[in-house]
């Protein structure tokens, strides 16, 4: 059962929105993202990367959530952290020339106990909007903290 009983962290951060920046998406970025993952579909690669027909692969917003600096939730548990999981909800296509603005918030902190003992999960939700203020993607990331096996 998941619970947040007894987890010590900065609860004032829960639900508070933090701007994480504005990012321009270029045709070259889309093309490089697609090529690096072995994509062969021309709707992502394009004949020429800046044509109007090119769209970005659905998870491209992920490159902007990597290594962002989030507020420290001051979690008082564990000494080992992992990236546990992620979901990406695609709302609108991202195209060359789009300017995306992102904000993130701490959505949930809870614990579970498994074979390796207690684990505490922190879930962050990040919203990406384009220059027309349309939501293009919702990205949830789950990070887990546990104690090293002695």
């Amino acid at each position: 059962m998941a619970t947040d009983d007894g987890i010590v962290y900065d609860r004032s951060l829960l639900g508070r929105e933090h701007a994480i920046g504005s990012f321009e998406v270029t045709g070259e970025m889309i093309s490089e993202f697609a090529k690096s993952t072995g994509e062969t579909d021309n709707k992502y690669l394009g004949e020429a990367a800046n044509t109007e027909n090119v769209i970005a692969p659905p998870t491209i917003c992920n490159i902007f959530v990597n290594n962002i600096s989030r507020p420290d939730i001051k979690l008082q548990f564990g000494d080992l952290s992992f990236f546990a999981g992620q979901s990406v909800e695609c709302k609108e296509h991202v195209r060359p020339g789009d300017r995306l603005t992102a904000s993130t918030r701490l959505d949930n902190v809870y614990s579970k106990t498994g074979r390796s003992g207690k684990m505490v999960f922190a879930v962050w939700k990040t919203t990406f909007k384009n220059q027309k203020d349309e939501i293009v993607a919702l990205v949830d990331e789950s990070f887990v903290r546990r104690n090293r096996n002695k």
Binding site: S36, T37, D41, N62, N66, Q86
Partner: protein, 145 residues
């Protein structure tokens, strides 16, 4: 990628999505992380030495790249697929230069007046059949009607 245009009516529960195989090289990972940060600093993703110093067995494929591969399994099935959501759990480290097999199986199928919705479970496993990344995706296909 299949060239066949799939429609909602063509898909049944239990259908398998065409499997995809990949082996991710250091050059591909550098290409991926460079999209955002040209000339990236060495990290657990791009340096064996740093990865091993962090207690990992070797340089690993970034989670963001793994979810991109999982989504490619879905979008590559047919040009008519439109991915709505993908949700994955990272169960094991994905190492460079190891053969990976990605598979999917249809688990849900719904249609209402506004849209179609298809659900599928997706898995990335290594040569030994160990599940490295598991998840669920939702996508739409056009209806013939």
């Amino acid at each position: 990628m299949t060239t066949e245009n799939l429609y909602f009516e063509d898909v049944e529960l239990g259908d398998e999505i065409n499997p995809m195989t990949r082996k991710i090289s250091l050059e591909q990972v550098i290409g991926f992380v460079s999209v955002r940060e040209p000339n990236p600093s060495p990290s657990r993703f791009t340096s064996e030495k740093i990865a091993k110093a962090e207690g990992l067995p070797g340089a690993i494929v970034p989670g963001a790249m793994n979810i991109a591969l999982m989504s490619q399994l879905i979008t590559g099935w047919s040009p008519t697929v439109s991915l709505k959501k993908i949700d994955v759990v990272f169960r094991q480290m994905v190492l460079h230069d190891k053969p990976l097999k990605l598979t999917g199986i249809i688990t849900d199928k719904e249609e209402d007046v506004e849209a179609t919705n298809i659900g599928c479970d997706v898995v990335m496993e290594n040569e030994e059949g160990v599940k490295l990344v598991i998840g669920h995706a939702e996508f739409t296909l056009p209806s013939k009607s």
